[in-house]
Symmetry: C3
């Protein structure tokens, strides 16, 4: 890709980030790279001590870093208390996509009756926006997206290509929905009559707060009666499943392949590692972190870090230990008997 | 969403459900809600003792419940032996989507040669139906769907938006396929020549029985030679993967994120919890339940409930235990030696 | 599906596979089936001793097998040192889809400015190919696909229906991308300011080598600064997530539901079983196999087979053992005390 980023002066960057510049404010850069890869027209950053070894040899025009490392910097530097946050701001400055969207409705798109379009809305080729949809200002609907009837999408939200949002969903402002994600499909609800299954119509909706990002191919199902509710500033990675009537609190982050079963409530500022599973009807309090691929089957009432599973090991060793796991209760009982015998003797 | 549900009288509801009404048959309601949320124009239900505490305070017009709870109901009631099943029927009565589909082929849809359309078929905007496809009566093909050549879809089946069905697939009657699901992609088959991989063309198909539901973003792969076969009344949640030549028996239910490897046969009336994994070439008999995130690597020949893994715990505690898991076989051997020494002494 | 495979003579097949024919070279067959299912117009194969029992009773016209089994074959045979590889070649000969693609751009497709099309390119109905895309010879873009601006797709690659490739992605030659997969969505990168999340623009791309296959509904995210890189001849199953800046070496195979966290490097000739999870920033050397649903949290520097977890067992037994797992460190300490007491006594 031709990365036709704008060129910016170091003074402009410093002003934008609120950073202190030590060096030539007139110097212009046209991109961002790691300390190791950066060339003389690029700016770099140091946000993790693991990369401190790459600082002396960098060819970058300037490096964004904490004031305490300014002395070791071989080139111009921009100092900031939180250089990782500075990197985030800087990355968005150099995003070649930013503001490149063509405004307007592509002639191949199909827009239903009674649709309300804010200012500067973009609807891409082959998209379908059904009747009664409301799109806020500067909403972008990518190619091939389908937005169901009566759905409401807040200002500044972007749907990348081939996103599906069902009817009656609410998406907040400044959201980002990645390709292949599906918001508002039916929750998994059936009643059993002793022989087979009877579908429970999923009459609730989905409400996504502001500043929510949903990764590619993730699913957030609609509620059975009430809504499935995702708070503000919740970040959801790819391949995640969120079942009906789940609630996720503000500022929580869910890594790839997470699955949350029905009606579970996740607090604010929680972080779920990749592949974590939460059973249904649980309450997870604020500030909980769960490490990758852990299964949580009980509510958690104390903030902290939680885990399950066993670490990976050589398969031959693992086979022996896994067999012993099946005997573990018996092993514990045998140990207790020995202890008693010892005390008794 | 404007939930423009029809209004129904309690007498009509009682007749539809086969329930016994205690109260005013003329009273009209326009929706369904939980005991806690229902207002005076809504009907509610009690199907789980955990919600009995909400019964006395409900503002619902009427409550659907078991005859044994009729005495505690503060309003009109509809009694039924299986109130959860009654709730399922009722939810479908109030489904605002039911029967709202526009019949006919949208002008933007692309329909190939030799396609057979039953009565009352609906094909949405931007959909593609390839040559030789047969769609039964009242089939609904949502916006953006692609149905491959020579595929057969039974009467009353609905594909929500952006579903993909490959060529030569058979879908039974009254099915529901949710957005983003893919039926009939190639199974994962390759032969190794010592250096690299050679693709095995996947010449089989997929056959879905009647009354099958498939959740959003789920994959059911086509067979290598024979077909992948999903029985009648099988319910499949979101983010599920079913590999080539798998067979799933009638009335089984697979929760979110389940993965079933190639050629495994799952019996009838099985229930797989969220994130369960089944290895390939297994046989799982009828009536097996597997709890969430368990891995099954051997066939199961007895009905019952099966599990694997460890429960989640505090991370510091878990680290210590996980290290011990790696020593478990050695621990068991040391215990045996102590026992022998004890007996010997 | 009418499987209108070509008919082929046994002599033609033998020549194509480099196999030795014992039988009637003029005999014509029109398909491929298992030993058990094959009829007199079909050819079969024996590649796994488990199916040797089906050989004597087969009704196939001819069987592809190892020379050592020719004596037991009740019909004509084609002998080859690697009959499974021969089966792979044969399956592709009988693929009814092969070469059936209509060349050209469907009138409903939307092709942007400055797109370069090789010879024999096919772009299906409702597809979108954005500005600056380069498609090599005989590339097939299926119905409903979206290919983002400035993406490059090598000769002979096929995108099945409803695939999404973001902007600035490179896909090698002879690739196969299955429906619903998403290549190049943003990696999951955010900086925290103590209160909430700030998006890190994902400025890198994705590079897929030659002969890569990606299964349905899989996600391969774009890099944060550098690219996410998938080597040549890498085979990726359905429902897989590959995070930003991951590298996967040539000839590796990833089964369904695998998840690989950011910046991890997987070597060449690795095989990850279904549902395996790799933490971020790891290095996995060449020739590593990880068994199904294992979690790998540390780098692996020795080729071999690795595992984690516990096998599935009866739920009642499992509950007892899982409780003991939480006491495992304490159990080990108690055992050590007993051992010391024994030695001391």
């Amino acid at each position: 890709m031709t990365q036709d980023s704008p060129t910016l002066s170091l003074a402009e960057i410093a002003a934008h980030l609120g950073a202190r510049l030590q060096g030539d404010g007139e110097r212009r850069v046209r991109g961002l790279a790691t300390l190791r890869d950066a060339g003389p027209e690029q700016v770099s950053f140091l946000a993790n001590r693991a990369y401190l070894k790459d600082l002396p040899g960098t060819r970058a025009a300037a490096v964004l870093l904490h004031p305490s490392h300014a002395g070791e910097c071989p080139c111009d530097c921009l100092t900031l208390d939180n250089p990782y946050l500075g990197y985030a701001e800087l990355s968005r400055l150099f995003d070649p996509l930013a503001g490149r969207e063509t405004v307007g409705v592509h002639p191949s798109a199909v827009v239903g009756e009674g649709v309300t379009l804010g200012e500067g809305v973009a609807i891409g080729p082959q998209a379908v926006v059904e009747a009664g949809v409301v799109l806020g200002d500067h909403v972008v609907i990518g190619p091939g997206c389908v937005v169901g009837a009566d759905t409401w999408i807040g200002a500044g939200t972007r749907l990348h290509a081939n996103v599906t949002v069902y009817h009656g969903v609410v998406v907040g402002e400044r959201g980002i929905l990645h390709s292949g994600c599906v918001i508002g499909a039916d929750g998994f609800g059936f009643a059993h009559d002793g022989g087979g299954w009877h579908k429970i119509a999923q009459l609730g909706g989905v409400v996504l707060g502001d500043d929510v990002e949903v990764g590619s191919c993730s699913s957030i199902d609609r509620g059975a009666l009430g809504d499935t509710v995702i708070g503000n500033d919740v970040k959801i990675d790819s391949q995640v499943q969120i079942a009906h009537n789940v609630q996720v609190g503000d500022h929580s982050a869910l890594a790839g392949c997470v699955g949350i079963a029905g009606s579970t409530r996740v607090g604010r500022h929680c972080m779920l590692g990749g592949g974590v599973g939460l059973s249904g009807h649980l309450t997870i309090c604020d500030g909980v972190q769960v490490t990758g691929m852990s299964l949580v089957t009980n509510s958690i009432h104390q903030p902290g870090v939680y885990s399950s599973g066993t670490g990976a090991m050589d398969n031959a060793q693992w086979r022996r230990n896994a067999v012993r796991f099946k005997q573990l209760d018996e092993i514990a009982r045998r140990l207790s008997r020995l202890e008693k015998a010892g005390r008794g003797g």
